[in-house]
């Protein structure tokens, strides 16, 4: 036998085919497992189909070859000749399928790349979204914190200002452009004589001004300059009593510099005003008193001489009517002068020697009235007395105190003119330890303007010769010397007096005599 044996070819073919079957089934097992692990993985799915085709091809080819050997072995070779084209054709088809699938990979890859790109974009968009979300959350959180903190600060500040507003002893007020009160603190409410804030709100500040002119000046200044400071104004409480305030206010303006509202602080200076007024008055009086005393002394002597000579000459010219009349006029006028001088000296408080003794007020008043009663009843003026029996005695110069009563009764009578009543009363105010004497009359009353000046020396509303304007200032000085004070009300606050028709009332307060004074009576 020549040639080269082909047995190795057949053996390798047979064994190879068997191995192919085992390997391809193993491969299929793995790729199927892979697909099950991640069913949605496109690559695995592709590999699955590719392997499926490879496996199909391997199986078909290997099975074909093995079958061939079996047929040859079983000596039915002709059967193989029938089967061979089918096996070959099938193999060809699996080749083509594998190739088609392989070429298809480029598409799969592109799709996958696209999907991956999209996924990456989505992921980055997601990440950015997450970042933005986190930032937003952070912002929200910090915003919340900030708002909380600000609110707390605001509240604290609000409380601070509220305490200042509510607790201030000064009036703090807020008004709208029309001057209506929009808010005012408790001090303001009480100072204006109200009980609750609601009574004051929406009332114009103007209504509390006693003098409309004051309001106009105040408001005009505020409009013109945007603020006004330490403006003194007289206001009226709800019960009609007067109130002096020092106002400081600032206007709030809009962009067109129109005033939209104003706010301010007002200080109650009523007491201060009273004190300074009294001080000014006593200062004035002290200086006038010194002047008067000097002048009075100088004039008193020549006046005495004029009067003396006039009286002497009256005796000489008793028969000559004409000359006598002239002399009498001189005497009369000289006497008036002397009275003025005496008044001045009384006023100066140095002139006459002082006699200090206990004074029975009741008795003093009764004595004064008994002297004046006659002339008063001539003008149909009647005096009504209402004096407590257990009045303690005062201590001082009886004559001077009497002079005060005379002055006040005279003023009352002059104010009444004809037909009226004078009410005089006295009581002991234990609480303040003061003897309180009042003297009211049914005269026309005293106007606001006059009221301010009645205690000024030389202020009078009466005609020449009738009033010197010294009566009240002298009285003021005397009472002050005795440690008391004088007050006037027109109209009176006392309801009882008002009902009796009293329009003016003077109050005199004198301290009662003290124990250590009872022993000493000097001259």
């Amino acid at each position: 036998m020549n040639g080269f044996p082909l047995l190795s070819v057949y053996v390798v073919d047979f064994l190879g085919s068997s191995l192919m079957i085992v390997l391809s089934l193993t491969a299929f097992h793995y790729v199927n497992h892979l697909r099950k692990l991640e069913p949605r993985n496109v690559l695995w799915n592709y590999l699955f189909w590719l392997c499926l085709m490879l496996v199909t091809f391997a199986l078909s080819r290997s099975l074909g070859h093995i079958l061939k050997y079996i047929f040859i072995f079983m000596d039915i070779k002709h059967l193989w000749h029938h089967l061979a084209p089918f096996s070959g054709g099938w193999n060809t088809m699996t080749f083509v399928a594998v190739s088609a699938l392989t070429f298809y990979y480029s598409n799969v890859r592109k799709v996958m790349a696209q999907v991956r790109e999209d996924a990456k974009q989505i992921a980055s968009a997601n990440a950015r979204l997450k970042e933005a979300h986190a930032a937003l959350r952070q912002l929200n959180l910090s915003l919340e914190h900030r708002v909380e903190k600000r609110t707390r600060e605001l509240k604290r500040s609000e409380q601070k200002f509220r305490r200042l507003f509510e607790g201030s002893k000064d009036v703090i007020f807020f008004c709208n452009a029309e001057g209506e009160i929009t808010d005012i603190n408790d001090s303001g409410v009480h100072l204006l004589g109200f009980k609750s804030k609601n009574e004051v709100l929406n009332t114009s500040l103007k209504e509390f001004f006693d003098d409309e002119e004051d309001w106009e000046v105040f408001f005009r200044n505020l409009l013109a300059h945007g603020d006004i400071s330490e403006f003194e104004a007289r206001l009226r409480r709800s019960d009609g009593s007067l109130l002096y305030l020092m106002l400081t206010a600032t206007a709030l303006k809009d962009s067109k510099s129109n005033m939209v509202s104003f706010e301010g602080i007002a200080k109650d200076i009523t007491h201060f005003k009273e004190v300074t007024d009294t001080l000014i008055r006593s200062e004035k009086m002290a200086s006038v008193g010194q002047l008067a005393a000097g002048v009075a002394h100088e004039i008193n002597t020549p006046l005495g001489i004029i009067l003396g000579y006039a009286q002497l000459m009256e005796e000489d010219f008793e028969d000559d009517e004409e000359v006598l009349d002239t002399l009498k006029t001189i005497e009369k006028q000289a006497k008036i002068c002397r009275k003025v001088v005496a008044d001045l000296l009384k006023f100066s408080r140095q002139s006459i020697e002082r006699i200090l003794a206990p004074i029975d007020i009741r008795q003093s008043i009764e004595e004064v009235i008994s002297v004046m009663d006659h002339s008063l009843s001539m003008d149909q003026i009647y005096v009504e007395l209402d004096m407590a029996k257990d009045l303690p005695p005062a201590f001082g110069d009886k004559e001077k105190i009497r002079q005060v009563f005379v002055n006040l009764i005279n003023n009352a009578a002059q104010a009444i003119g004809k037909d009226g009543k004078i009410f005089i009363g006295a009581d002991f105010d234990r609480e303040n330890d003061m003897i309180e004497i009042y003297l009211g009359d049914s005269g026309p009353g005293i106007s606001q303007d006059v009221m301010k000046k009645i205690f000024d020396p030389f202020f009078t509303t009466k005609g020449v010769g009738k009033g010197t304007g010294l009566g009240l200032s002298v009285s003021f000085g005397i009472i002050k010397d005795h440690g008391g004070h004088i007050d006037v009300q027109s109209p009176p606050k006392d309801q009882k007096l008002l009902e009796k028709g009293v329009n003016t009332v003077f109050y005199i307060y004198l301290p009662p005599m003290k124990d250590e004074e009872s022993g000493q009576s000097e001259s």
Partner: protein, 156 residues
């Protein structure tokens, strides 16, 4: 790949159609050869794509490429065998009644040696299949590992 196809065409055109034994009429053979060409081209193409755009890292993909290469080689091998099947004269093979005693007749030219060697085509395709299996097994393991890791870390 058409280049490959054209290269091999002259190999079987001059052959005698009547002599074809294995695949019957020549169209069948032609289709089969063409399929081998396409198969081979596809393998090369896939290797190229996997190298240019690697779908993943690791030995699994390297094994897959090796597997594909062996499949390619197997196709080339098959092409050669089939064309030699046609080209070798009928008397090149000494056919006996007993199939197992078949022989390759002298003279033992290069062609006949090549035919003999390439007839052992299973060296290629079994190796290819073997690499495919280990590639897939390794892919399975990687994926399993990845999945359990995901489960542990709780990441989607």
């Amino acid at each position: 790949m058409p280049v490959l196809f054209v290269l091999f065409l002259p190999l079987f055109f001059p052959s005698r159609a009547a002599a074809v034994q294995i695949h019957g009429p020549p169209e069948g053979l032609y289709v089969h050869q063409m399929a081998h060409c396409i198969f081979a081209a596809a393998m090369i193409f896939l290797i190229y794509l996997l190298s240019k755009y690697p779908p993943g890292k690791g030995t699994a993909w390297k094994y897959l490429k090796i597997s594909l290469f062996f499949f390619f080689m197997w196709n080339i091998n098959a092409l050669i065998v089939h064309s030699l099947d046609v080209r070798l004269p009928d008397d090149a093979l000494f056919k006996t009644a007993d199939f197992w005693k078949n022989r390759l007749n002298p003279p033992l030219t290069l062609e006949r040696w090549v035919y003999f060697v390439t007839k052992h085509d299973h060296f290629w395709c079994v190796t290819a299949m073997f690499f495919l299996v280990i590639s897939l097994r390794s892919l399975c393991r990687d994926t399993e590992q990845k999945l359990t890791m995901r489960k542990e870390t709780g990441k989607p």
